[in-house]
């Protein structure tokens, strides 16, 4: 499929990033980052799940559809999963999801999967900062805006319909 085309960076654009963090590693790492008073970009909103394996590709798509410019998924390193192998299941699904997002024109870098152990508070910081910078460069995704724009073509008709008797409206375009 053809390369995704998106608008470039908007001035003063602050990316909105939704993160799904597993309770045992990445969420704990984010806690550690806090305890260590590390400073990082405020653009990320963390949603806590017990295991990255709970994250369904639907969640990622829904986050984009509801206005996220990027989605970050954090889990335990391979082999360290608190639930033995949940993170492998995540990896497998998300490899396919990445291909699908590409085919739907969502640029690489808007979705990101990272292994961050409970001890890697500094990695939370560097990953978040790096992702925010990259997504800022990509510019807004703004799917809710796009949906509205796409649906203008049928809304316009809506106005005419409400404005004219049905019989005549049949011929209007």
């Amino acid at each position: 499929m053809s390369k995704p085309m998106e608008q470039g960076a908007g001035a003063g654009f602050e990316p909105r990033i939704v993160a799904f963090f597993c309770n045992w590693c990445t969420y704990t790492a984010a806690d550690l980052a806090g305890v260590s008073r590390l400073k990082y970009a405020p653009n990320v909103r963390v949603i806590r799940v017990m295991c990255s394996g709970r994250v369904d590709p639907q969640f990622v798509m829904e986050a984009f559809a509801k206005g996220a410019d990027g989605v970050l998924l954090g889990g335990c390193h391979p082999g360290d999963c608190h639930y033995a192998e949940g993170n492998y299941k995540t990896l497998r699904r998300m490899r396919m999801l990445e291909r699908m997002l590409k085919d739907m024109g969502i640029a690489d870098g808007r979705f990101r999967l990272e292994w961050i152990s409970g001890a890697e508070g500094d990695k939370v910081k560097s990953v978040v900062n790096d992702m925010v910078a990259k997504v800022r460069a990509l510019g807004p995704l703004d799917l809710p805006g796009k949906f509205a724009e796409w649906d203008k073509e049928i809304e316009e008709l809506e106005h005419q319909i409400s404005a004219q008797p049905a019989k005549e409206a049949v011929h209007a375009r």
């Binding site: 305890v35 369904d56 829904e62 206005g67 949940g86 299941k89 910081k125």
Partner: protein, 669 residues
Amino acid sequence: MADNNGNKPQPIGLPRIGFYVCHCGSNIAGTIDVAEVAQFVAGLPGVVVSRDYKYMCSDPGQEMIAQDIKEHKLDRLVVAACSPNLHEETFRKAAAKGGLNSFLFQMVNIREHASWVHEDKKAATAKAKGLARAAVYRVRFHKPLEKQQVPVDPNVLVVGGGIAGIHAALTLANAGKKVTLVEREATIGGHMALFDKTFPTLDCAACILTPKMSAVKSHPNITLWTYSEVAKVDGYVGNYKVTVKRKPRYVKEDLCVGCMECIDACVFKEPKFTDQFNQGLGKRKPVYIDFPQATPKVVLIDPQSCIQLKTGKCKKSCAEACDRDAIDFTQKEETRELQVGAIVLATGFQAFDAKKEPRYGYGRYPGVYTALEIERLVNASGPTSGEVVLRDGRHPKSVGIIHCVGSRDAKTNKWCSRVCCMYSLKLAHLIQEHSGAEVYNFYIDMRAPGKAYEEFYDKLLSEGVHFIRGRVSEVTDWAMTPEEEGKLVLRVEDTLAGFVRRIPVDMVVLATGLEPKADAQEVRRRFNIGCGNEGFFQERHPKLAPVNTFTDGIFIAGACQAPRDIPDTVAQAGAAAAEALVLIDAGHVELEPNTSHVVEEECCGCKSCVPLCPYGAITFDEAKKKASINEVLCKGCGVCAAACPSGSIRQNLFEDEEIFSEIEGVLAK
């Protein structure tokens, strides 16, 4: 117009939500405008009460919540404060106190995840609002849940019969618990049974170990299964089902009294088979016993060397010699099953394989020994009855002990094995004592932390043992001077003297380090616990939960968790036993209700979920042709809920609606 919702039911009516944002002194309020957050949330649908308070987790804070729940008939609770990993339980209790089900509550982390990591007040406040809104959207979907209680089986399994296992088993048994001790080898005792003396007190290892060994054997509450291995572990905290394989000894354990008549009677007049117990320094017969105080004191027959077992053509003089008919060539491996509530893993360590350091010539020069070999050589009950002789029969005049072999080395094992310095000192002392040889210690730096350890080091210094600071670069038999002829030369840079030296000796001792057992990974999988990067078993918390694992009801003790000496091992074994007792005496365990369940009428029986569960919690009911989840086995990861292709599995506290509404909440503008 439909938003991909199909006919999904929407929550009926608006909930009555109470929202509380904590200042945490200035920890939160210093960066986040909590009043603004409270005001913002007050405007969200369903929010009846919205307050900010200095310390929500304080008693008055909790009291306020309980009060509001009663007064304002709140049916949902959201608290924005620190990490749920800290105070989730606190506020669940507060909810319960107010008469609200603890799980109709959601916590928002605005300290660790916001105020502590951001400087821009506006941005941090905006983030806090978003997170709070997400919780408010989400909590309306929460359902009342109960923690389930499951009874705990009072019996305990201890795996590994080294000093750690022995001590844990005895502690538990003395507390009146039925204990099964499973040991892989023919006798318990582990590494400690190989030692002659122990540092720093130099008291006789056997003298302190063997009484405990026989105590195990004779204890009414302990079932001892040696020559056995755990094959499988099913179940969950408080209710483990363990399968144990018992290897055939070809000797009836209950009949044998260890008189050893059979050994004398064996058709092999002389011992001619390598004796593993003595590190291969001695020989044994096909029918043998590891050492005189072996526990149980029962002989066994090695099928690899026994003529009868190999060919079936032997006159079986051993059997004739046994007046109790204990010998039984027809024995087969047996499988036994156990029900236990808790498990203590004390599977120990293995010594570093000195062959992996070829530069020291182990296996190439007969004069090079490992520390464990020396332990046997200096041992009164060892192959030489404590006489220090070289493999060629000569008595060493000089001995070099190389420290840190397979420790503190980027090429092999990075970690310090913690005991080598001390046991090297001990061996230096014993060798000198037994042989009067000159003893050289080659060390990187001397590590003597522990009660009376430094003093022991001083003692050795005063005994005239030589200490050379430097890592030996190689051991060679290439003589450069006449006096080096026929000797092993250690090349080393003396970092104190600051020049390279060549030390010729007759005997080289390699202070091999401690490393995880070769099968540590298999074992940890069998027991569903973790291993750290270096391969030792992973404790739940390095400081606060050193003997717990991430799997409830499974505890670790001794060198399987990290290299440690006997005193620490025994202390840890006691701790593990105590933790097991806590679990058992509580009588039941409470399980977090974030488990998953299959909605039967929605399940098509595609089995997609069954292989996903690492705990075997998901089974396929062949009669109903539906999957079902044992919520007690379920650990609540939610992988199956995410993977059910028809959305027929729900995870409590993480249902799709809850997460979707959380997504909407963090993103709403």
